[in-house]
């Protein structure tokens, strides 16, 4: 189905209590800030958040965590100079953490989108992050078996979408967006611009429309929210 343009709040209504939500971005680049704010407003809880980091400062993911909506975080790098919200919850035993090497995180998301049941990765062999996991020697090299990470909803940020839902990204803000879009049952993309079908060159589309369900233009979302409130 062609992607539907919605307000941020309507779009994140796809998230239900207990869902696994994939959140794009690497630092602020590619972070779907308006969608996270809408998710906080939406109120769904008991969430598992899959993202590279576990929130910074007091806004965005950190605010979602502070609101007590997150049961578990799956990420590669939770500990940062300004990750005090996560740090506090973790030390208080109020949040679960699964640390995944960044490449395994990206590959496990891809596997979920690609129908791969599991894969043998060289990353993490002999380290604490492979403890308890199945290992296997293939052609003389040791590998760890890793499993896919499917999401219920992906919240990503792209640059331009066409009305069908095809996406292009901008520079290193691309990061996790394309793999997360493939790995979730419902993908919501926050974009800076929506163009007509046919305006994007078919050769340069990074995320084909089949992976995108809902489009959010932050500016218009704000206006719509004001109108309806």
């Amino acid at each position: 189905m062609t992607a539907t343009e919605m307000s941020a709040l309507d779009a994140v209504a796809a998230v239900q209590d207990g869902d696994t939500v994939l959140v794009g971005g690497f630092g602020m680049a590619g972070m779907p800030v308006e969608l996270i704010d809408a998710l906080i407003e939406h109120g769904a809880g008991d969430l598992t958040i899959v993202s590279n980091n576990a929130g910074n400062g007091d806004t965005g993911l950190a605010a979602l965590l502070a609101a007590g909506r997150v049961r578990k975080v799956i990420c590669s790098f939770p500990r940062q100079s300004d990750s005090w919200v996560f740090d506090g919850l973790y030390r208080a035993g109020k949040i679960e953490l699964e640390v995944v090497p960044q490449g395994n995180l990206a590959e496990r998301l891809r596997a979920a989108g690609a129908g791969i049941g599991g894969f043998y990765t060289p990353t993490g062999v002999g380290t604490p992050l492979a403890e308890g996991k199945e290992t296997r020697v293939i052609d003389g090299r040791e590998y760890v078996l890793e499993s896919p990470i499917p999401g219920d909803v992906a919240l990503i940020r792209a640059y331009v979408a066409d009305r069908m839902g095809n996406l292009v990204y901008r520079k290193t803000a691309r990061n996790f967006g394309p793999v997360m879009a493939t790995a979730a049952a419902v993908t919501v993309a926050q974009v800076s611009r929506i163009v007509e079908i046919g305006e994007l060159d078919p050769e340069v589309i990074v995320t084909p429309a089949i992976y995108v369900n809902r489009l959010v233009l932050p500016g218009s979302a704000v206006r719509r929210t004001e109108v309806t409130s």
Binding site: M1, T2, A114, G115, M164
Partner: protein, 210 residues
């Protein structure tokens, strides 16, 4: 009267919901495209790396770099996208396509599909993307004549030909009847020039009246 190939294609096209992402297999399934309603919003995938495939290309629109999975020249519709083979099959195998339509030698009542090899001892094996399509799409529709030239039914209790995929077919469109397969039963939803009882008498598969 039993259906012509064109009529079968029309009936399959009728059953594709608007806006579906669909892969049409090589051969007869390709004809389904001719019967998709304009404005249906159905988007065609071709496993050699494209979404938004348009009609066959003719004369001066033929471009050797733009073909379908049957290697026939095709065209590009607005909103199309290109991707490489691993991305294309990831799309298929990851369960993102709504419907895949394929031909078959045999389909079992449990939805097993045999459409790549007759198992002849001297045959050269060749599978292409059939096994990926069989297990990848959310639904697999099969189009085939219900009886082989020698009169043997092709909807069978259990496939005797080598399998393409297990328990993957959800509907079977034939020249004399349409079947929906679920929970091991074959439900007859339409017949063409044959009665339900005649059909039941000629098939070894337990049939369910719709």
């Amino acid at each position: 009267m039993s259906l012509s190939r064109q009529e079968m294609a029309r009936i399959v096209a009728r059953d594709i919901p608007d806006g579906s992402y669909v892969n049409l297999g090589i051969g007869q399934p390709t004809m389904v495209a001719d019967y998709l309603r304009a404005g249906s919003g159905v988007i065609l995938h071709t496993e050699n790396g494209m979404l938004g495939m348009g009609p066959p290309a003719t004369s001066d629109r033929i471009d050797p770099d733009l073909t379908n999975a049957g290697k026939q020249p095709v065209t590009e519709l607005p909103g199309a996208s290109y991707f490489h083979h691993a991305d294309s099959f990831a799309m298929m195998r990851g369960g993102h396509l709504d419907i895949c339509i394929m031909g078959a030698f045999q389909v079992s009542a449990a939805g097993d599909l045999a459409n790549w090899s007759t198992g002849a001892p001297d045959a050269i094996p060749a599978v292409g993307g059939a096994m990926d399509l069989a297990i990848g799409a959310k639904q697999v529709f099969v189009m085939m004549t219900l009886f082989a030239k020698d009169g043997k039914p092709k909807l069978v209790p259990s496939c005797t030909y080598p399998l393409t995929g297990k328990a993957c077919v959800s509907r079977v469109y034939t020249d004399v009847a349409t079947f929906v397969l679920d929970d091991g039963g074959a439900r007859v939803t339409e017949t063409f020039g044959i009665s339900f009882d005649e059909l039941a008498a000629r098939l070894d598969v337990p049939l369910i009246r719709r």
